[in-house]
Protein backbone atom coordinates (compact mmCIF):
# COMPACT_ATOMS: atom_id res chain seq x y z
CA UNK A 1 0.00 0.00 0.00
CA UNK A 2 2.87 2.34 -0.68
CA UNK A 3 0.40 4.47 -2.67
CA UNK A 4 -2.33 4.09 -0.10
CA UNK A 5 -4.04 6.56 2.18
CA UNK A 6 -4.74 5.84 5.83
CA UNK A 7 -7.63 7.79 7.38
CA UNK A 8 -7.91 7.84 11.17
CA UNK A 9 -11.60 7.63 12.10
CA UNK A 10 -13.08 9.52 15.04
CA UNK A 11 -16.20 8.65 16.93
CA UNK A 12 -17.99 10.00 19.95
CA UNK A 13 -20.71 8.27 21.92
CA UNK A 14 -20.86 5.34 19.48
CA UNK A 15 -21.30 7.59 16.45
CA UNK A 16 -18.73 8.33 13.75
CA UNK A 17 -17.91 12.06 13.59
CA UNK A 18 -18.40 14.15 10.45
CA UNK A 19 -14.65 14.74 10.18
CA UNK A 20 -14.23 11.01 9.45
CA UNK A 21 -16.53 11.20 6.42
CA UNK A 22 -15.00 14.50 5.31
CA UNK A 23 -11.54 12.92 5.24
CA UNK A 24 -12.80 9.69 3.71
CA UNK A 25 -14.47 11.58 0.85
CA UNK A 26 -11.29 13.55 0.24
CA UNK A 27 -9.14 10.40 0.43
CA UNK A 28 -11.40 8.64 -2.06
CA UNK A 29 -11.05 11.54 -4.51
CA UNK A 30 -7.26 11.58 -4.03
CA UNK A 31 -6.96 7.85 -4.55
CA UNK A 32 -8.50 8.09 -8.03
CA UNK A 33 -4.99 7.87 -9.44
CA UNK A 34 -4.46 4.51 -7.72
CA UNK A 35 -3.93 3.32 -4.18
CA UNK A 36 -6.26 2.01 -1.55
CA UNK A 37 -8.03 3.91 1.18
CA UNK A 38 -7.90 2.28 4.60
CA UNK A 39 -9.82 3.63 7.55
CA UNK A 40 -8.27 2.98 10.93
CA UNK A 41 -11.03 2.48 13.45
CA UNK A 42 -9.73 2.42 17.00
CA UNK A 43 -12.20 1.02 19.54
CA UNK A 44 -14.91 0.95 16.89
CA UNK A 45 -17.31 -1.85 16.06
CA UNK A 46 -18.80 -3.64 13.04
CA UNK A 47 -21.77 -1.29 12.80
CA UNK A 48 -19.43 1.68 12.43
CA UNK A 49 -17.36 -0.24 9.89
CA UNK A 50 -20.54 -0.80 7.88
CA UNK A 51 -20.97 2.97 7.53
CA UNK A 52 -17.52 3.34 6.00
CA UNK A 53 -18.57 2.09 2.57
CA UNK A 54 -16.36 4.56 0.74
CA UNK A 55 -13.23 2.87 2.11
CA UNK A 56 -11.45 -0.08 0.50
CA UNK A 57 -10.51 -1.51 3.87
CA UNK A 58 -11.52 -0.86 7.45
CA UNK A 59 -8.84 -1.83 9.96
CA UNK A 60 -10.28 -2.25 13.45
CA UNK A 61 -8.14 -2.13 16.57
CA UNK A 62 -9.70 -3.36 19.78
CA UNK A 63 -8.15 -3.94 23.13
CA UNK A 64 -7.95 -3.01 26.78
CA UNK A 65 -7.27 0.63 27.47
CA UNK A 66 -8.70 1.82 24.15
CA UNK A 67 -12.25 2.61 25.27
CA UNK A 68 -11.29 6.21 26.03
CA UNK A 69 -8.70 8.37 24.35
CA UNK A 70 -5.18 7.90 25.66
CA UNK A 71 -2.41 9.45 23.53
CA UNK A 72 -0.08 6.60 24.42
CA UNK A 73 -2.25 3.59 23.59
CA UNK A 74 -3.93 5.27 20.62
CA UNK A 75 -0.54 6.47 19.40
CA UNK A 76 0.83 2.94 19.62
CA UNK A 77 -2.19 1.63 17.66
CA UNK A 78 -1.71 4.23 14.92
CA UNK A 79 2.02 3.57 14.79
CA UNK A 80 1.39 -0.16 14.33
CA UNK A 81 -1.17 0.48 11.59
CA UNK A 82 1.27 2.74 9.71
CA UNK A 83 3.93 0.07 10.07
CA UNK A 84 1.57 -2.60 8.69
CA UNK A 85 0.13 -0.53 5.83
CA UNK A 86 3.01 1.76 4.83
CA UNK A 87 0.63 4.43 3.52
CA UNK A 88 1.86 7.34 1.43
CA UNK A 89 -0.47 9.71 3.23
CA UNK A 90 -1.96 9.60 6.72
CA UNK A 91 -5.03 11.80 7.27
CA UNK A 92 -6.20 12.79 10.74
CA UNK A 93 -8.65 15.43 11.88
CA UNK A 94 -7.41 18.70 13.34
CA UNK A 95 -9.18 17.69 16.54
CA UNK A 96 -8.27 17.16 20.17
CA UNK A 97 -7.53 13.52 19.40
CA UNK A 98 -6.30 13.72 15.82
CA UNK A 99 -3.70 16.43 16.32
CA UNK A 100 -2.29 14.67 19.34
CA UNK A 101 -1.87 11.45 17.36
CA UNK A 102 -0.51 13.18 14.26
CA UNK A 103 2.21 15.04 16.15
CA UNK A 104 3.31 11.90 17.93
CA UNK A 105 3.35 9.87 14.72
CA UNK A 106 5.36 12.56 12.94
CA UNK A 107 8.06 12.72 15.60
CA UNK A 108 8.26 8.94 16.12
CA UNK A 109 8.63 8.19 12.41
CA UNK A 110 10.23 11.47 11.31
CA UNK A 111 7.41 12.33 8.90
CA UNK A 112 6.52 15.70 7.41
CA UNK A 113 3.32 16.95 9.08
CA UNK A 114 1.12 19.80 7.85
CA UNK A 115 -1.59 21.06 10.21
CA UNK A 116 -4.74 23.21 9.88
CA UNK A 117 -5.19 21.79 6.36
CA UNK A 118 -7.95 23.08 4.12
CA UNK A 119 -6.88 20.98 1.18
CA UNK A 120 -4.37 18.35 0.16
CA UNK A 121 -3.25 17.26 -3.31
CA UNK A 122 -1.23 14.28 -4.48
CA UNK A 123 1.10 14.48 -7.48
CA UNK A 124 4.77 13.61 -7.67
CA UNK A 125 4.84 15.17 -4.28
CA UNK A 126 2.10 15.82 -1.76
CA UNK A 127 1.08 19.42 -1.18
CA UNK A 128 -1.23 20.88 1.44
CA UNK A 129 -2.87 24.26 1.94
CA UNK A 130 -3.10 25.27 5.58
CA UNK A 131 -4.46 28.17 7.52
CA UNK A 132 -2.11 30.20 9.70
CA UNK A 133 -2.21 33.46 11.64
CA UNK A 134 -5.62 32.57 13.01
CA UNK A 135 -7.04 32.16 9.50
CA UNK A 136 -5.68 35.47 8.19
CA UNK A 137 -3.17 33.81 5.86
CA UNK A 138 -3.07 30.55 3.92
CA UNK A 139 0.15 28.69 3.20
CA UNK A 140 0.84 25.99 0.65
CA UNK A 141 3.56 23.53 1.60
CA UNK A 142 5.31 20.64 -0.12
CA UNK A 143 5.49 17.53 2.07
CA UNK A 144 7.70 15.54 -0.28
CA UNK A 145 6.85 12.29 -2.02
CA UNK A 146 5.48 10.63 1.12
CA UNK A 147 4.98 9.11 3.58
CA UNK A 148 3.57 12.16 5.37
CA UNK A 149 0.80 13.29 7.70
CA UNK A 150 -1.88 15.96 7.29
CA UNK A 151 -4.35 17.14 9.93
CA UNK A 152 -7.51 18.31 8.21
CA UNK A 153 -9.69 21.13 9.48
CA UNK A 154 -13.29 20.25 10.23
CA UNK A 155 -15.52 21.32 7.35
CA UNK A 156 -12.67 21.54 4.83
CA UNK A 157 -14.32 18.90 2.63
CA UNK A 158 -17.97 17.84 2.30
CA UNK A 159 -18.92 14.89 4.49
CA UNK A 160 -21.47 13.58 1.98
CA UNK A 161 -18.72 12.42 -0.39
CA UNK A 162 -17.50 10.08 2.32
CA UNK A 163 -20.89 8.56 3.07
CA UNK A 164 -20.99 6.33 0.00
CA UNK A 165 -22.40 2.81 0.06
CA UNK A 166 -19.95 -0.02 -0.34
CA UNK A 167 -18.59 -3.19 1.13
CA UNK A 168 -15.07 -2.57 2.37
CA UNK A 169 -13.08 -5.53 3.55
CA UNK A 170 -12.51 -5.49 7.29
CA UNK A 171 -9.50 -6.66 9.17
CA UNK A 172 -8.46 -6.70 12.76
CA UNK A 173 -5.17 -5.18 13.87
CA UNK A 174 -3.62 -6.06 17.22
CA UNK A 175 -3.46 -3.43 19.95
CA UNK A 176 0.21 -3.00 20.79
CA UNK A 177 1.37 -2.62 24.37
CA UNK A 178 2.00 0.95 25.50
CA UNK A 179 4.48 2.33 28.01
CA UNK A 180 1.83 2.96 30.66
CA UNK A 181 3.02 6.47 31.50
CA UNK A 182 -0.42 7.94 30.84
CA UNK A 183 -3.51 6.63 32.64
CA UNK A 184 -7.04 7.62 31.70
CA UNK A 185 -9.06 8.61 34.75
CA UNK A 186 -12.46 9.92 33.67
CA UNK A 187 -14.45 12.21 31.39
CA UNK A 188 -16.15 15.42 32.48
CA UNK A 189 -19.27 16.35 30.53
CA UNK A 190 -19.95 20.06 30.00
CA UNK A 191 -22.32 21.77 32.42
CA UNK A 192 -25.69 23.06 31.26
CA UNK A 193 -26.07 26.83 31.32
CA UNK A 194 -28.91 29.24 32.12
CA UNK A 195 -29.46 29.76 28.40
CA UNK A 196 -29.04 27.09 25.72
CA UNK A 197 -27.28 29.01 22.95
CA UNK A 198 -27.72 26.09 20.55
CA UNK A 199 -31.50 26.58 20.71
CA UNK A 200 -31.56 30.33 19.91
CA UNK A 201 -32.82 31.76 16.62
CA UNK A 202 -30.59 34.80 16.92
CA UNK A 203 -27.21 35.08 18.63
CA UNK A 204 -25.24 38.25 19.30
CA UNK A 205 -21.70 36.95 19.68
CA UNK A 206 -18.86 39.07 21.02
CA UNK A 207 -15.12 38.59 20.76
CA UNK A 208 -11.85 40.08 21.88
CA UNK A 209 -12.75 43.37 20.13
CA UNK A 210 -15.19 44.21 22.92
CA UNK A 211 -12.20 45.17 25.06
CA UNK A 212 -13.65 44.92 28.56
CA UNK A 213 -16.20 42.98 30.58
CA UNK A 214 -18.36 46.04 31.28
CA UNK A 215 -18.70 46.77 27.58
CA UNK A 216 -20.52 43.48 26.97
CA UNK A 217 -23.52 45.55 28.05
CA UNK A 218 -23.78 47.11 24.56
CA UNK A 219 -24.14 43.62 23.10
CA UNK A 220 -26.73 42.76 25.75
CA UNK A 221 -28.76 45.84 24.81
CA UNK A 222 -28.67 44.84 21.16
CA UNK A 223 -29.56 41.24 22.04
CA UNK A 224 -32.56 42.43 24.03
CA UNK A 225 -33.79 44.44 21.06
CA UNK A 226 -33.42 41.35 18.84
CA UNK A 227 -34.85 38.93 21.39
CA UNK A 228 -31.52 37.14 21.12
CA UNK A 229 -28.98 35.64 23.49
CA UNK A 230 -25.38 36.80 23.96
CA UNK A 231 -22.63 34.32 23.13
CA UNK A 232 -18.86 34.72 22.89
CA UNK A 233 -15.61 33.50 21.43
CA UNK A 234 -13.00 31.70 23.49
CA UNK A 235 -10.87 34.66 24.67
CA UNK A 236 -13.88 36.13 26.49
CA UNK A 237 -14.61 32.89 28.25
CA UNK A 238 -10.89 32.52 29.12
CA UNK A 239 -10.97 36.00 30.61
CA UNK A 240 -14.02 35.05 32.70
CA UNK A 241 -16.23 37.69 31.06
CA UNK A 242 -18.84 35.17 29.93
CA UNK A 243 -19.64 31.69 31.28
CA UNK A 244 -18.29 28.63 29.45
CA UNK A 245 -21.87 27.71 28.49
CA UNK A 246 -21.95 30.75 26.18
CA UNK A 247 -18.83 29.75 24.23
CA UNK A 248 -19.16 29.17 20.49
CA UNK A 249 -16.43 27.18 18.75
CA UNK A 250 -14.38 24.04 18.61
CA UNK A 251 -13.91 23.75 22.37
CA UNK A 252 -17.34 25.19 23.10
CA UNK A 253 -20.69 24.69 21.43
CA UNK A 254 -21.61 24.39 17.78
CA UNK A 255 -24.50 26.67 16.86
CA UNK A 256 -26.57 27.22 13.72
CA UNK A 257 -29.04 30.07 14.39
CA UNK A 258 -31.02 31.94 11.75
CA UNK A 259 -28.91 35.02 12.42
CA UNK A 260 -25.42 35.18 13.90
CA UNK A 261 -24.03 38.63 14.64
CA UNK A 262 -20.27 38.44 15.18
CA UNK A 263 -19.06 41.58 16.95
CA UNK A 264 -15.31 42.05 17.30
CA UNK A 265 -14.67 38.40 16.50
CA UNK A 266 -11.70 37.90 14.15
CA UNK A 267 -12.83 34.47 12.96
CA UNK A 268 -10.06 32.05 13.92
CA UNK A 269 -10.66 28.57 12.46
CA UNK A 270 -11.65 27.24 15.89
CA UNK A 271 -14.46 29.80 16.09
CA UNK A 272 -15.61 29.35 12.50
CA UNK A 273 -16.03 25.61 13.13
CA UNK A 274 -18.64 26.41 15.76
CA UNK A 275 -20.83 28.86 13.78
CA UNK A 276 -20.32 28.43 10.05
CA UNK A 277 -23.65 26.62 9.63
CA UNK A 278 -25.59 29.72 10.72
CA UNK A 279 -28.15 30.73 8.07
CA UNK A 280 -27.14 34.41 7.99
CA UNK A 281 -23.87 35.73 9.36
CA UNK A 282 -23.17 39.42 10.00
CA UNK A 283 -19.62 40.45 10.92
CA UNK A 284 -18.56 43.73 12.49
CA UNK A 285 -14.83 44.24 12.91
CA UNK A 286 -12.44 47.16 12.79
CA UNK A 287 -9.78 44.99 11.12
CA UNK A 288 -10.62 44.59 7.44
CA UNK A 289 -8.27 41.59 7.27
CA UNK A 290 -10.30 39.71 9.87
CA UNK A 291 -11.04 36.26 8.40
CA UNK A 292 -14.62 36.44 9.69
CA UNK A 293 -15.44 38.53 6.60
CA UNK A 294 -14.71 35.48 4.43
CA UNK A 295 -17.60 33.67 6.05
CA UNK A 296 -20.07 36.49 6.62
CA UNK A 297 -23.00 37.35 4.38
CA UNK A 298 -22.99 40.99 5.48
CA UNK A 299 -20.09 42.89 6.96
CA UNK A 300 -19.12 46.24 8.39
CA UNK A 301 -15.55 47.38 8.83
CA UNK A 302 -16.30 49.63 11.75
CA UNK A 303 -16.10 50.21 15.47
CA UNK A 304 -18.41 47.68 17.08
CA UNK A 305 -19.65 50.14 19.70
CA UNK A 306 -20.83 52.58 17.02
CA UNK A 307 -22.51 49.77 15.14
CA UNK A 308 -24.19 48.31 18.24
CA UNK A 309 -25.62 51.67 19.21
CA UNK A 310 -26.84 52.47 15.72
CA UNK A 311 -28.27 49.00 15.18
CA UNK A 312 -30.12 49.13 18.48
CA UNK A 313 -31.50 52.52 17.46
CA UNK A 314 -32.41 51.38 13.93
CA UNK A 315 -34.29 48.41 15.36
CA UNK A 316 -36.15 50.63 17.80
CA UNK A 317 -37.05 53.03 14.96
CA UNK A 318 -38.47 50.20 12.94
CA UNK A 319 -40.57 49.02 15.84
CA UNK A 320 -41.50 52.55 16.82
Amino acid sequence: MADGILVVAEHLGGKLSDITFEMLGKAKALSGAGGDVTVLLIAGDASMAAELGAADTVAIVEGDGLADFNPESYGAALGAAVEAKSPRLVMVGYTAMGMDLASTLAVKRNLPHATFCLDVAIGDSITATSQCYGGKINVTTDLGAGPCVVSMLAGAAPADAGRAEGTPSTESLPAPASAGKIRFKRLIEPEAGDVDITAQEILVAVGRGIGSKDDIEVAEDLAEELDAAVAGSRPLIDAGWLPKTRQVGKSGLKVAPKLYLALGISGAPEHIEGMKSSATIVAVNSDKQAPIFNFAHYGMVADLFDVCEELTEALQERKG
Binding site: N70, N138, F184, V282, N294, Y298, V301, A314, L315
Partner: protein, 264 residues
Protein backbone atom coordinates in the same frame (compact mmCIF):
# COMPACT_ATOMS: atom_id res chain seq x y z
CA UNK B 1 10.57 21.22 40.88
CA UNK B 2 12.70 22.35 38.02
CA UNK B 3 10.45 23.45 35.19
CA UNK B 4 11.31 24.39 31.61
CA UNK B 5 8.96 26.72 29.74
CA UNK B 6 9.19 27.01 25.96
CA UNK B 7 7.89 30.29 24.57
CA UNK B 8 7.53 31.68 21.10
CA UNK B 9 7.36 35.30 20.08
CA UNK B 10 4.60 35.96 17.54
CA UNK B 11 3.12 39.02 15.85
CA UNK B 12 0.39 40.75 17.85
CA UNK B 13 -3.02 39.27 16.88
CA UNK B 14 -4.18 42.75 15.85
CA UNK B 15 -1.24 43.16 13.47
CA UNK B 16 -1.96 44.08 9.89
CA UNK B 17 -0.15 41.49 7.78
CA UNK B 18 1.54 41.83 4.42
CA UNK B 19 2.87 39.02 2.28
CA UNK B 20 6.63 39.22 1.71
CA UNK B 21 7.88 39.99 -1.82
CA UNK B 22 9.04 36.40 -2.41
CA UNK B 23 5.58 35.17 -1.29
CA UNK B 24 7.25 32.65 1.03
CA UNK B 25 6.21 34.24 4.32
CA UNK B 26 4.79 37.44 5.73
CA UNK B 27 6.80 40.64 5.94
CA UNK B 28 7.96 40.80 9.55
CA UNK B 29 9.36 44.33 9.32
CA UNK B 30 7.37 46.86 11.35
CA UNK B 31 5.35 44.17 13.17
CA UNK B 32 4.99 44.24 16.94
CA UNK B 33 5.94 40.92 18.51
CA UNK B 34 4.50 39.58 21.75
CA UNK B 35 4.78 36.37 23.77
CA UNK B 36 2.49 33.77 22.17
CA UNK B 37 -0.75 33.74 24.13
CA UNK B 38 -0.87 30.16 25.37
CA UNK B 39 2.90 30.25 26.13
CA UNK B 40 2.20 33.13 28.50
CA UNK B 41 -0.29 30.93 30.33
CA UNK B 42 2.31 28.12 30.39
CA UNK B 43 4.79 30.47 32.08
CA UNK B 44 2.21 31.48 34.70
CA UNK B 45 1.41 27.83 35.41
CA UNK B 46 5.12 27.05 35.81
CA UNK B 47 5.72 30.00 38.15
CA UNK B 48 2.76 28.97 40.32
CA UNK B 49 3.98 25.37 40.58
CA UNK B 50 7.55 26.44 41.34
CA UNK B 51 6.28 28.74 44.11
CA UNK B 52 4.29 25.89 45.65
CA UNK B 53 6.86 23.12 45.33
CA UNK B 54 10.10 25.07 45.43
CA UNK B 55 12.52 24.96 42.53
CA UNK B 56 13.00 27.16 39.55
CA UNK B 57 11.64 28.05 36.15
CA UNK B 58 13.92 28.29 33.14
CA UNK B 59 12.53 29.80 29.92
CA UNK B 60 13.59 28.79 26.43
CA UNK B 61 12.96 30.58 23.16
CA UNK B 62 14.20 30.20 19.62
CA UNK B 63 14.63 33.07 17.21
CA UNK B 64 16.46 36.26 16.35
CA UNK B 65 17.57 39.14 18.54
CA UNK B 66 13.97 40.30 19.16
CA UNK B 67 13.29 37.13 21.15
CA UNK B 68 15.47 38.45 24.01
CA UNK B 69 12.73 40.96 24.79
CA UNK B 70 10.25 38.12 25.41
CA UNK B 71 12.79 36.26 27.53
CA UNK B 72 13.52 39.41 29.54
CA UNK B 73 9.79 39.79 30.16
CA UNK B 74 9.57 36.19 31.41
CA UNK B 75 12.50 36.88 33.74
CA UNK B 76 10.70 39.96 35.05
CA UNK B 77 7.65 37.80 35.76
CA UNK B 78 9.74 35.45 37.88
CA UNK B 79 11.69 32.96 35.77
CA UNK B 80 15.16 32.34 37.19
CA UNK B 81 17.10 32.34 33.93
CA UNK B 82 16.67 32.00 30.20
CA UNK B 83 18.16 30.08 27.31
CA UNK B 84 18.09 31.73 23.89
CA UNK B 85 18.48 29.44 20.88
CA UNK B 86 20.02 32.34 19.07
CA UNK B 87 21.83 31.02 16.01
CA UNK B 88 20.20 31.94 12.66
CA UNK B 89 20.58 28.24 11.74
CA UNK B 90 17.78 27.45 14.22
CA UNK B 91 15.24 29.57 12.33
CA UNK B 92 12.72 28.65 9.65
CA UNK B 93 12.14 25.12 10.88
CA UNK B 94 8.95 23.08 11.02
CA UNK B 95 7.70 21.68 14.34
CA UNK B 96 10.09 18.70 14.05
CA UNK B 97 13.18 20.85 13.55
CA UNK B 98 12.17 23.36 16.24
CA UNK B 99 11.14 20.62 18.67
CA UNK B 100 14.44 18.76 18.14
CA UNK B 101 16.46 21.87 19.02
CA UNK B 102 14.34 22.70 22.08
CA UNK B 103 14.45 19.08 23.28
CA UNK B 104 18.26 19.10 23.02
CA UNK B 105 18.47 22.36 24.98
CA UNK B 106 16.15 20.96 27.66
CA UNK B 107 18.04 17.68 27.82
CA UNK B 108 21.27 19.54 28.54
CA UNK B 109 19.80 20.26 32.00
CA UNK B 110 17.67 18.12 34.32
CA UNK B 111 13.97 19.02 34.35
CA UNK B 112 10.94 17.49 36.06
CA UNK B 113 8.42 19.17 33.81
CA UNK B 114 8.25 21.02 30.50
CA UNK B 115 5.43 23.48 29.94
CA UNK B 116 4.53 25.19 26.70
CA UNK B 117 1.47 26.52 24.88
CA UNK B 118 -0.79 24.28 22.82
CA UNK B 119 -0.48 26.31 19.64
CA UNK B 120 1.16 29.43 18.31
CA UNK B 121 -0.72 32.36 16.89
CA UNK B 122 1.39 32.52 13.74
CA UNK B 123 2.38 29.28 12.01
CA UNK B 124 0.12 27.33 14.34
CA UNK B 125 1.80 23.93 13.96
CA UNK B 126 0.18 23.03 17.29
CA UNK B 127 2.63 20.22 17.78
CA UNK B 128 5.97 21.57 19.00
CA UNK B 129 5.29 20.42 22.57
CA UNK B 130 4.31 16.93 21.45
CA UNK B 131 7.48 16.80 19.33
CA UNK B 132 9.63 17.82 22.31
CA UNK B 133 7.98 15.00 24.30
CA UNK B 134 8.72 12.57 21.46
CA UNK B 135 12.42 13.47 21.40
CA UNK B 136 12.70 13.28 25.19
CA UNK B 137 10.72 10.02 25.35
CA UNK B 138 8.34 11.58 27.90
CA UNK B 139 4.54 11.42 28.06
CA UNK B 140 2.65 14.54 27.10
CA UNK B 141 -0.79 16.10 27.24
CA UNK B 142 -2.15 18.65 24.76
CA UNK B 143 -4.92 21.27 25.29
CA UNK B 144 -4.46 21.23 29.05
CA UNK B 145 -6.90 23.30 31.13
CA UNK B 146 -6.00 21.96 34.58
CA UNK B 147 -2.73 20.76 36.10
CA UNK B 148 -2.05 19.39 39.55
CA UNK B 149 1.30 17.94 40.55
CA UNK B 150 0.73 15.08 42.98
CA UNK B 151 2.51 14.80 46.31
CA UNK B 152 5.86 13.13 45.84
CA UNK B 153 6.17 14.84 42.45
CA UNK B 154 6.12 11.54 40.57
CA UNK B 155 2.94 12.21 38.63
CA UNK B 156 0.58 14.97 37.52
CA UNK B 157 -3.19 14.98 37.19
CA UNK B 158 -4.16 16.80 34.05
CA UNK B 159 -7.49 18.03 32.67
CA UNK B 160 -7.38 18.21 28.89
CA UNK B 161 -9.99 19.34 26.42
CA UNK B 162 -11.62 16.94 24.03
CA UNK B 163 -14.28 17.94 21.47
CA UNK B 164 -17.58 19.75 22.17
CA UNK B 165 -16.82 20.92 25.67
CA UNK B 166 -15.97 17.46 27.03
CA UNK B 167 -12.83 17.27 29.18
CA UNK B 168 -10.72 14.24 29.97
CA UNK B 169 -8.73 13.71 33.15
CA UNK B 170 -5.50 11.74 32.77
CA UNK B 171 -2.62 10.97 35.09
CA UNK B 172 0.87 11.36 33.66
CA UNK B 173 4.08 9.97 35.08
CA UNK B 174 6.72 12.71 35.47
CA UNK B 175 8.83 13.97 33.83
CA UNK B 176 6.30 15.02 31.21
CA UNK B 177 5.53 17.73 28.68
CA UNK B 178 2.32 19.69 29.28
CA UNK B 179 0.90 21.84 26.50
CA UNK B 180 -1.51 24.30 28.07
CA UNK B 181 -4.48 26.12 26.61
CA UNK B 182 -5.07 29.83 26.94
CA UNK B 183 -7.41 30.42 29.87
CA UNK B 184 -5.95 27.83 32.27
CA UNK B 185 -5.04 30.57 34.80
CA UNK B 186 -4.82 34.35 35.16
CA UNK B 187 -1.31 35.46 34.19
CA UNK B 188 0.32 37.95 36.55
CA UNK B 189 1.79 41.31 35.65
CA UNK B 190 5.44 42.13 36.13
CA UNK B 191 6.26 44.18 39.22
CA UNK B 192 8.75 47.03 39.17
CA UNK B 193 10.97 44.95 41.43
CA UNK B 194 10.71 42.04 39.01
CA UNK B 195 11.65 44.24 36.08
CA UNK B 196 14.71 45.56 37.95
CA UNK B 197 15.79 42.06 39.00
CA UNK B 198 15.37 40.74 35.46
CA UNK B 199 18.17 43.01 34.28
CA UNK B 200 20.66 41.00 36.29
CA UNK B 201 19.37 37.56 35.33
CA UNK B 202 21.17 35.39 32.83
CA UNK B 203 20.09 34.88 29.22
CA UNK B 204 22.41 32.20 27.84
CA UNK B 205 22.74 32.20 24.06
CA UNK B 206 23.32 28.75 22.59
CA UNK B 207 24.20 27.49 19.11
CA UNK B 208 23.43 24.10 17.52
CA UNK B 209 27.01 23.02 18.28
CA UNK B 210 26.50 23.84 21.97
CA UNK B 211 23.58 21.38 21.92
CA UNK B 212 25.50 18.68 20.07
CA UNK B 213 23.46 19.22 16.92
CA UNK B 214 24.73 19.73 13.40
CA UNK B 215 23.53 22.78 11.45
CA UNK B 216 21.69 20.39 9.12
CA UNK B 217 19.63 18.99 12.02
CA UNK B 218 17.93 22.28 12.88
CA UNK B 219 15.94 25.12 11.32
CA UNK B 220 15.09 25.43 7.67
CA UNK B 221 17.81 22.93 6.71
CA UNK B 222 16.11 20.17 8.71
CA UNK B 223 12.53 21.14 7.91
CA UNK B 224 10.54 18.40 6.20
CA UNK B 225 8.01 20.96 4.99
CA UNK B 226 8.87 23.30 2.15
CA UNK B 227 6.81 26.47 1.90
CA UNK B 228 5.67 27.04 -1.67
CA UNK B 229 3.58 30.17 -1.18
CA UNK B 230 1.64 32.19 1.34
CA UNK B 231 -1.42 34.16 0.30
CA UNK B 232 -4.54 35.83 1.64
CA UNK B 233 -7.66 33.68 1.58
CA UNK B 234 -10.38 34.87 -0.79
CA UNK B 235 -11.89 37.80 0.97
CA UNK B 236 -15.57 38.40 1.43
CA UNK B 237 -16.89 35.65 -0.81
CA UNK B 238 -20.45 36.87 -1.18
CA UNK B 239 -20.19 39.15 1.83
CA UNK B 240 -21.82 42.49 1.26
CA UNK B 241 -19.81 45.15 3.04
CA UNK B 242 -21.45 48.34 4.30
CA UNK B 243 -19.18 51.33 4.63
CA UNK B 244 -19.54 54.93 5.70
CA UNK B 245 -21.73 56.53 8.32
CA UNK B 246 -22.53 53.95 11.04
CA UNK B 247 -26.16 55.10 11.30
CA UNK B 248 -26.72 54.66 7.55
CA UNK B 249 -24.96 51.31 7.59
CA UNK B 250 -27.08 50.11 10.51
CA UNK B 251 -30.32 51.10 8.74
CA UNK B 252 -29.19 49.43 5.51
CA UNK B 253 -28.27 46.26 7.37
CA UNK B 254 -31.60 46.11 9.19
CA UNK B 255 -33.40 46.47 5.82
CA UNK B 256 -31.30 43.68 4.30
CA UNK B 257 -31.87 41.39 7.25
CA UNK B 258 -35.58 42.06 7.02
CA UNK B 259 -36.18 41.93 3.27
CA UNK B 260 -33.33 39.88 1.83
CA UNK B 261 -32.29 37.44 4.55
CA UNK B 262 -35.75 37.56 6.15
CA UNK B 263 -34.39 36.91 9.60
CA UNK B 264 -35.99 39.89 11.34
Amino acid sequence: MKIAVCMKQVPDTEASLRVRKDSLWIDEEELTFVINESDGYALEEALTIAEKTGGEVVVFSLGGERVREALRKALALGAARAVHLADPAFEGGDALATGRALAAAIQAQQFDLVLTGSQSGDAGFSSTGSVIAGFLGWPHAWLVMGLEVEDGKKAAKVTREMESGVNEIVRLALPAVIEVQAGINSPRYASLKGIMQAKRKEIAAVTPADLGLGAEEVGAAASLLETLAVFFPESGKGAEIFEGDPADCARQLVEKLRKEARVL
